[in-house]
């Protein structure tokens, strides 16, 4: 039996999912685009043409589709300046499914933490050289 979620919980879950701007691409064995949907504009992928080579239109997939692995997960992919996504690639029923979710907010916070950490290390190494 499918559980019925209370309205505020459902609203939260729906909000979460739309905040993540999910989008998908379906690709055939010849690496042509079969179908697409979701928040593609978020990733500047809203002008892709069905029937055309997906790697020509979305270069990130060059070399990735050939892997033919059941599932691949690419974390923190910077597709545009200051915009990050998680990219998941699944092989199912003769198609490759590429799923994108927006991780910009989380990634930007991680980037700032990393910037401070590596900045400190860099300065320490620089001082070490001079002393």
């Amino acid at each position: 039996m499918t559980p019925v979620l209370p309205t505020p919980v459902l609203a939260f879950v729906e909000g979460l999912s739309s905040a993540n701007s999910p989008a998908y691409l379906q690709v055939n064995a010849r690496h042509n685009l079969v179908s697409l949907g979701g928040a593609l504009a978020r990733y500047s992928l809203d002008t892709l043409t069905i029937g055309d080579s997906v790697t020509q239109q979305f270069p990130m997939l060059e070399g990735v589709l050939e892997q033919n692995q059941q599932q691949l997960h690419f974390e923190r992919v910077q597709l545009l300046r200051a915009q990050y996504a998680s990219v998941d690639v699944f092989v199912a029923d003769g198609s490759v499914w590429v799923l994108l979710t927006d991780t910009t907010m989380r990634s930007q916070m991680e980037q700032q933490v990393q910037q401070r950490r590596l900045g400190r290390t860099f300065r320490r190494q620089d001082l070490g050289l001079k002393n």
Partner: protein
């Protein structure tokens, strides 16, 4: 693009793809993907460049980024001696996991030559395994185009 942090991987790509250089150090989180079409005599080759986050050691934070890699540019900063050690470590790691893939060695920051502290220990080994070695400067653009074109030429063969 592989190498430890702050060796100039992102700056090399930005110089090559957009002809831009910034003095401000901005760390890369995860991976940034760019594409550039290189014209070689009668043919053109599409280079899809994965600029991978550099960590503090010779590890690769997320090995999944290397899936499907055809070749790589190994970048080191000769003003920081340990970046050579990390580059050697990375090269060995890649060879273990992906076999003997072609790589080009970039000795970056050629514009800071007076600050170079690199010794030949380990450098010759890395150089001898590389398709080619370039002394590059993301700041002035020295050898940047030549380096990418040399890799594209190899990939086309």
């Amino acid at each position: 693009m592989l190498g430890t942090f702050a060796v100039g991987k992102t700056s090399l790509v930005r110089q090559y793809v957009d002809s831009i250089f910034s003095e401000q150090y901005q760390t890369t989180l995860g991976v940034k993907i760019d594409k550039k079409v290189v014209t070689l005599r009668d043919n053109s080759v599409s280079l899809v460049i994965w600029d991978v986050q550099g960590d503090e050691g010779g590890e690769i934070a997320l090995p999944v980024y290397l899936k499907g890699m055809a070749a790589y540019i190994l970048v080191l900063d000769p003003t920081r001696a340990h970046t050579l050690q990390h580059a050697s470590q990375m090269q060995k790691l890649i060879e273990q996991k992906h076999g003997a893939l072609d790589y080009v060695l970039a000795i970056n920051k050629a514009d800071l030559r007076e600050q170079w502290v690199l010794t030949s220990d380990g450098l010759e080994t890395l150089k001898s395994g590389a398709l080619a070695t370039f002394e590059t400067s993301a700041k002035t653009g020295q050898n940047v185009e030549q380096m990418f074109v040399s890799l594209a030429t190899r990939l086309q063969q």
